[in-house]
Amino acid sequence: MKKNEFHEEFIKGIWRDNPVFVQVLGMCPMLAVTNSAINAIAMGMATFFVLVGSSFLVSTFRHLIPKQVRISCFIIIIATFVTIADYTLLALVPAVHKELGAFIPLIVANCLILGRQEAFASRYPTKLAVMDAMGMASGFLLALLSLGSVREILGDGALFGMKLFGENFEPWVIMILPPGGFLTLGVILLFFNWFRLKKDEFLEDVAAAERGGN
Amino acid sequence: MKALRFLRRNFEHGVHPAHHKQQTADLPIQRVPFGKHYVMPLGQHIGVPAKAIVAAGERVQRGQLIAKPGGFVSTGLHSPVTGTVREVGDYRGVDGRFAPAIAIEADPFATQQVDASAAVDWQSLTLEEFIEAVQIAGIVGMGGAAFPAHVKLSVPDGIRIRHLLINGAECEPYLTTDHRLMVERPEALLEGAEIVRQKLGAEETVIGVEMNKPDAIEIIRNHIRPGDPVRVVPLKVKYPQGAEKMMIKSVFGKEVPAGLLPRDVEVNVNNVGTIVAIADYFLRGMPLIERVVTVAGPGVSYPANLIVPLGTPVRDVVKFCGGLKPGSREIIMGGPMMGRPIASLDVPILKGCSGVLVFTEEQTARRKEYPCISCGRCLEACPYFLNPSRLARLSKSRMFDEMRAYHVFDCVECGCCTFACPSNIPIVQLIRTAKDDLARRKEPDA
C-alpha cells in the first residue's frame, strides 16, 4: 500500500498530471531552450534538481514557516537552489550554459516549481513530497526532451548533435526559431488532446457495451 | 449642402431588389365574395389584445363592434360579416401560435351592407374624442406593422407636429395595394389626410411616393386643390424607402435619433391605407373591417388586388385567385422582404396584412449556406448602419448579450443584409432569434 502510494505520486507527474501537456505550466523554459535535445536535457536536469531540492526543504520545514511569509520563503529557497544550479552548470559545462543563457535564472519564475511547493510540498511529509517532485520534474524533463528532439530533428536534421539524414538534408529552420517552438508545442498538445479523446471514446464504448450487455 | 441632400431624396445604404410589381400594378381593386368562416383574432395589432364582448351563438352585424380595446395600446374589433358567432377560442395565427379569436359564421343570406349613416362629424370632435373614435374604429397602421393608429396620433404635450408624412412608397417588391389605393381613391386619401392634418395641427401634408409609380403621383397631384397645403414628393426607388425613418431622412433630410419617434422631429408618418381607413370611418361610417390585399407571386394563377374582409382564411383568398399553381411551396403574409411565412392555409387575413404572396419551388429551392467571409456587403446594405455580419456571428455562437453593444435592438429587420449576403446566411432570422431571447430573459428583472 505504502509503496503504491509513492509509486502513484511519481507516476502521476509523468503522465496523468504532466506539468506541460496537462497542466500547461512552466512554458517559458519549455519553449525557450528546447531548440536542441541537449539544451532540453540540461534545462530539465536543472529543473529537476531545483524542484526536488526545494520540495525536500519546504516539506521538511513546513511546520516552521509562518503562513504569511511562506511564499517569500519558498522563493528564497528556490532562488538559492537555482543559483547553485546556475554556478554548477557554468563551472562544469560552460558551453551548455552559454546556450541556455538567462533562462537558468528564470527557473525561479517557473510556476511549476512554486506551484508544487504550495500545492504539495508544504502540506505533505517529506518522502511523499520528494516523490511528487521527482515525478513532476521527470514529467517536465520528458516533455522538454520530446519537444527538443522534435525541434532538433526537423530543424537541424540531427539528434544530440548527430546528423541523421546525411548532408543534403534541408533543415526546417523555423523549428529552431521561436515560432517553431510555439507551433511544435501546439501540435504536440493537439496530439495529446486527440489521444485523450480517443481514450475517452474507447472508455465510453466499453461502458456502453457493458450497459448493453446487462 | 443641405439643399443638395434635399434634392437627392434619398437615404444611405439600402438595396435594389427587382420590384416584380408588373403582375398586379395595373389591375383594379376587386371585391372578394363573402365566404362562410371568419376568424377574428383579438390581437391583430401590436399591444394588448382586444376584449371580446360577444359570446358564442350571438348574432352580429357587419361593422358591429365585437371586441373592445383591452387598454390604451389596443383597438376595437368589428365584425367583418353579418352572421353568428360560432366560438370564442384559440385559433392559429400568422405566427403559428394559437391565440384567442372570435370565429364567426357568415349568414349566406345577409346583404352585408354597412350602415353609412354611422358616419361621424369629425369636425365637431375634440382631439381626445377623435383619438378615441379612431381607437374604437380599430384603425391600425396598414403598412404591415399594425401599430394602433390612435397611439400614433396622440401627441404628448409640448411636442408639435409640423409635417404629416403619408407613406406611399410601397418599397416591398410585389405589393401594389397602396399603389392601387392612390390611383383609385385619391379623393379618400386627400380627405383622410386633411382630417388627420387638421386634428394634428400640422402645417403641411407630404405624400412620399417612389418614382416607379408615376401614375399615382400624377393622379394625386391632379386631385390636390390649388392652395391646399399638400405636396407629393417623388422618391428614389430603393428598398426600404418605405421604412418610416428612412422616408423622413429622404424627404426632410433629418435623422430620427435612435430610440425616439418621428414626432420627435416634428413629423407624423402614416401609411396610405391607414389614411384611407380613417377617411372611410369618419366620412362613410365604416370601421376597419376589410382591407386591400395584393395576391401575387409566381405560385398564384390569377394575381389580383383584392378587398378582403378581415378574418377571411388565406385559403378562400387563394381560391378566389384561381388556387395555387402546382409546385407552390411558401406563402408569405406581407412583402417578400419582411413578410411572415405562414404554416397553414387556415390562417386569417389580418389588419396588417398587405399581401399574400405565393412562391414556388424555384424561388425557395434550398439555398446552400456558406460560411460568412466578412465581405461587408451587409454593412453596405444596412440602412441603419449596423454590422449585421457580426450580429449574425454572435447570434450563431449564442452570445446574445454581446449583441446589445452592437445595437441589436436598433435593427428593424428590413432584410437588406440577408438580401445582400452572398453566403445565404439568414441574418435577419438570427437577429430576431437574439432579440427574442434577450427580450424574454429581461423579463425576470423587470
Binding site: 450497459r211 | 411572415r340 431571447d437
Partner: protein, 280 residues
Amino acid sequence: MNSLLVAPAIMVGIGLFFGAILAIAQRFLKVDEDPRIEATNNLLPGTNCGACGQPGCLPFAEKLVAGEVDPGQCTVSTDEAIEQIAEYLEVDAGRAEKLVARLRCNGGHLQAHQIAEYQGFEGCRAADIVSGGGKGCAWGCLGLADCEAACTFDAIHMNANGLPQVDTEKCRACPDCVAACPRDLFELVPLNQKLYVQCNIPLAGEAATRLCKVACDACGKCVADAAPGLITMQGNLPVINYASGGEARPEATFRCATRSIVWLEREQFQEQESRKAGTA
C-alpha cells in the same frame, strides 16, 4: 573584501528591510475586506500563474467567494485543496436534494407531426420565430437542440425521436436549458419525484390530440386516480402538488390514454435510451 561575510549580511539586510517594510505596510495600509477572501486565498496555491484565467490567486479567491467561478478552475491546486475550498465556501449552501432538468413534452417526431417544413438556421428559437417552426403543436418541443448547445455539462443529447435526453448523472441543475428553451419546456425537478406530466398543451380533448398523439386531452382521470388533492387540473393540464401531502404513486398514470403523465424511474425517455444502448 570578505565575501564570506558580505553575502549573509546582504541577505539578512534585505530580509530584515523588506520584512519590516511589509510588516509595517500591512499594519498601516490594511484595507478591510471579506475575511473569507483572505481565507480562500490561503487555500489557493499562491502561484499567481494566471492559468485559471484570473489575473492572480487573490482575484480568483474573490471570484470564488462571489460564486462566479468554480474552485476546480484552479489547475495548479491538488484535488484535496480544491475540495477543501469547496467545503469552506459551501458551508451554508448544502443542497440536500438533487435536481435534474425534465422536459414537459413527450411529442417527438413520431408523435407530434409537422404541418409545414421549416428551413433555416438549425435552432429552436430561430425556428420558433418562423411561424412556430412548422410543428403542429405550438407548445411542444421543437427538437432542434438549443438546449443541447446551451448545456455546459454535456448532459443533454437529442435522442432518435428528436427529444432532448437529459443525463441525470451529468445534470447539475443549472438553469441553462430552462433559459434556452423558447417554449419554456424545461423545469428543474427533484430527481426523486417520479410522477411527471409530459405535456404542455393548454387545449382539451380532440383539439389537443389532433396536434399530438401523446398530448394531454385534459380527461382528468389522473386527478381521480391519485391521492386526493395531489393532482389538480389547471388550464387543461394536470398539476402535481407534492406539498399536498398525498403520496405520489404510479397508479395515477395507469389510465392515462395518451401517456402524457408518467412514472419516471430515472431517465425521462427510457425506452429510446435503452434501444440506443442496445444497438451501440
